[in-house]
């Protein structure tokens, strides 16, 4: 669409992409290389790239510990439910914001953003008190509901913005044919919003996967804890298990990478609003 595909433009873009990729990829590469080193060597000067004492022991240490594997299980479970619930709740809310004018809309819009402005650190004590009162302390439910609070504002804003880019005529067509609003939403708006849903879903997953403060505060037993807490448990009072921490982070990112690779296809240009009306 940008005119003829010229080879030198292609080369320029690839070079730019490769150079640009250093910024995100180099630190991760460094983390990856370090996860195979013995602890002291991680701080060696001059730094070593590939350790002579290269070892997969840090990875084995994690894989052989049922307690640590449980952290992964918990993180998956919680993230999964948070994604499912966030998507459904935010689609409904975004539909309201995008397709209706109603009293209080401005106030609600303001509120959804500003309620997140209270630093979580200050929320910690009253929030924990509330969770205890609701009998949710040390449950998955506490974390799932908490993460919904974090993810919904972005999800709603994004989905609203996204639905706003989809023409009203789309859903009106369904309703003229005798369909209900729910039908219009479910059969037309949701399928056309897939790229938006995927990005919101990715974001939600990351947010739930990576959260630390509440994961620690709202749980007390190790069988309820998540990967970020597990990583912090490797930071001792006196010394850190650097390589295991890094190995655990690398391991934690693999499934996310795979998910991401899988959902790639939804970013393909062409799944746009325009192409769906037949």
């Amino acid at each position: 669409m940008y005119g003829k595909k010229k080879w030198y433009i292609k080369m320029l873009i690839i070079i730019a992409l490769l150079l640009g990729a250093l910024f995100p990829a180099f630190p991760i590469l460094w983390m990856f290389l370090n996860s195979f080193k013995p602890n002291p060597e991680i701080f060696a000067w001059p730094p070593t790239w590939i350790s002579k004492a290269f070892s997969i022991r840090p990875y084995l240490a994690i894989l052989q510990s049922p307690e640590k594997l449980r952290f992964f299980f918990n993180s998956y479970l919680i993230s999964f439910f948070v994604v499912a619930l966030t998507l459904v709740i935010s689609i409904l809310a975004a539909y309201a914001f995008s397709r209706f004018e109603f009293p209080g809309k401005g106030i609600l819009n303001t509120m959804i953003i500003s309620v997140q402005a209270v630093p979580p650190i200050t929320l910690l004590i009253p929030y924990l008190g509330l969770v205890v009162t609701l009998r949710l302390y040390n449950t998955y439910g506490a974390l799932i509901l908490t993460y919904l609070l974090f993810t919904l504002p972005y999800a709603i804003l994004m989905m609203t913005a996204y639905m706003n880019t989809l023409p009203q005529e789309l859903d009106e067509a369904v309703m003229i044919d005798g369909g209900s609003r729910i039908k219009a939403l479910w059969y037309v708006l949701v399928p056309t919003s897939v790229p938006g849903l995927v990005s919101v879903g990715m974001y939600t997953f990351m947010r739930a996967w990576n959260e630390y403060l509440f994961a620690l505060t709202l749980t007390k037993t190790n069988d309820m804890r998540t990967v970020p807490v597990g990583i912090s448990l490797l930071m001792g009072q006196h010394a850190y298990e650097w390589n295991q921490m890094l190995a655990m982070s690398v391991m934690g990112s693999f499934p996310v990478l795979i998910l991401f690779l899988f959902f790639q296809k939804y970013f393909i240009a062409g799944m746009t609003a325009g192409s769906v009306k037949h």
């Binding site: 924990l128 008190g129 449950t139 007390k220 912090s232 448990l233």
Partner: protein, 417 residues
């Protein structure tokens, strides 16, 4: 697409049900013991020790581990919301605040009720005369030396005074690629002030308090200690990056042979011995002020223990503490943690221990154990105030050490009001 949507509906219903179910509270007669020690000890050791108690009494012990850095905040939050564990691991720097806030129970009362002989305890941390924390294990902070670096620098004798130390540090910095001295001054975990800075003052018999209140301005030994550190910095003998450095960062610098001397917890000995390192190390006393011949203090940190004030099982909690403090169990903890026991009657078998550990034990016995920050109000904040102003002084923002100490004393006084 339809089937995916149906699947999604099912998932949502499941998610809602799941959120509501939860695990709830366990109501059986068991004690919760929240600490960070389990992570520090060899795997399974603390579990084993706790199981020993269950065998004796039938009371179950549930171990709750927290990352050390977050333990204090978690206790604060737990105390405010009633979710605090029955028995909690404590650091000496938290005791005052938790005691004053009413989060931890008066142990004097509990010991008395039990008829417990407290003369067997190496120390008790008191607030307003009542005991709130009992140290279970004591970690000494001697000076670690990298002998290879000293040899390379042509130093044959370990420094005993500050001027000898400066000379040694200068030789190392000049003749090797390494630095002489390192001190972690991070303000996120400002414990470097108590463990690494004040160690110098205490070694020369100094004190930062008088009658339990701050005594900084005009305190000659302290002034001299501050100026001594400044000299090390001004002569560029200190490893770079110390303002953001924590204790664990410091150890990695030492482990990589980039620094000749550090004051550090004995607990680190295992860290330094791990894996493929072949550091040629020695232990020594922290050098004293020139001309000082008196007794030397050695900094200690401890794993303390206390009881939540809102626990329903105070007597059982105290009983469990007595178990941990009994000579046999206490020895076992000490050996496993590379620490010295909290029970004076404990006779830990350090036989198979690292020779350096035994050297340090000699130094420890030869000195008096001290940590003046233990049991002070907002202790960590006091260290942070000191660290921030010390950084300013080292950067040259203050004209004199006394000027800096006056500012810190002002800050500290507020906490003591």
């Amino acid at each position: 697409m339809l089937s995916i949507r149906k699947g999604m509906v099912v998932l949502v219903v499941l998610a809602v049900l799941f959120s509501m179910s939860g695990t709830g509270f366990a109501q059986n007669v068991s004690l919760e013991f929240q600490q960070w020690w389990g992570v520090e000890l060899p795997e399974g050791e603390l579990r084993d020790i706790a199981d020993g108690y269950t065998e004796e009494t039938g009371i179950e012990i549930e171990l709750l581990s927290n990352p050390y850095a977050d333990t204090r905040d978690q206790i604060s939050a737990g105390a405010a919301t009633g979710t605090m564990a029955d028995v909690v691991g404590l650091d000496g720097s938290w005791v005052y605040d938790f005691a004053v806030q009413g989060s931890i129970a008066d142990l004097s009362e509990l010991m008395e009720a039990d008829g417990y002989d407290d003369s067997q305890l190496s120390d008790q941390i008191r607030v307003n005369g009542d005991t709130y924390m009992i140290p279970v294990a004591n970690f000494a902070y001697p000076m670690f030396v990298n002998l290879d670096l000293l040899e390379e620098a042509g130093i044959t004798e370990l420094p005993e005074t500050r001027s000898e130390f400066i000379a040694a540090a200068e030789a190392v910095t000049e003749k090797t690629g390494a630095y002489g001295w390192i001190i972690p001054l991070s303000t996120s975990t400002p414990s470097g002030i108590q463990n690494n800075f004040m160690g110098w003052l205490w070694a020369s018999g100094g004190s930062m308090l008088e009658n339990g209140r701050p005594n900084l301005v005009g305190n000659d030994k302290l002034i001299e200690t501050v100026e001594f550190q400044k000299e090390l910095f001004d002569k560029n003998l200190v490893s770079p990056g110390v303002y953001a450095m924590t204790e664990s960062d410091m150890v990695e610098e030492f482990a990589n042979g980039r620094v000749a001397f550090m004051i550090d917890s004995l607990a680190h000995l295992t860290t330094l011995r791990r894996g493929e390192t072949d550091l040629n190390m020695a232990m020594m006393k922290v050098p004293t002020m020139d001309g000082y011949n008196g007794e030397s203090g050695i900094g200690v940190a401890n794993w303390g223990i206390g009881v939540a004030s809102n626990t329903e099982h105070k007597a059982e909690s105290m009983d469990f503490i007595e178990y941990l403090m009994s000579p046999e169990v206490n020895s076992r903890i000490a050996v496993a943690a590379n620490a010295f026991p909290g029970n004076v009657n404990a006779e830990p078998e350090y036989k198979g221990a690292d020779p350096l550990f035994l050297d340090a034990f000699e130094i420890y016995k030869d000195s008096y154990a001290i940590n003046e920050f233990t049991g002070l109000p907002t202790s960590e904040q006091l260290m942070r105030d000191f660290a921030e102003n010390l950084q300013l002084y080292l950067e040259g923002d203050y004209d004199s050490a006394d000027e800096m100490l006056a500012v810190i004393e002002d800050e500290w006084e507020k906490a003591f009001e």
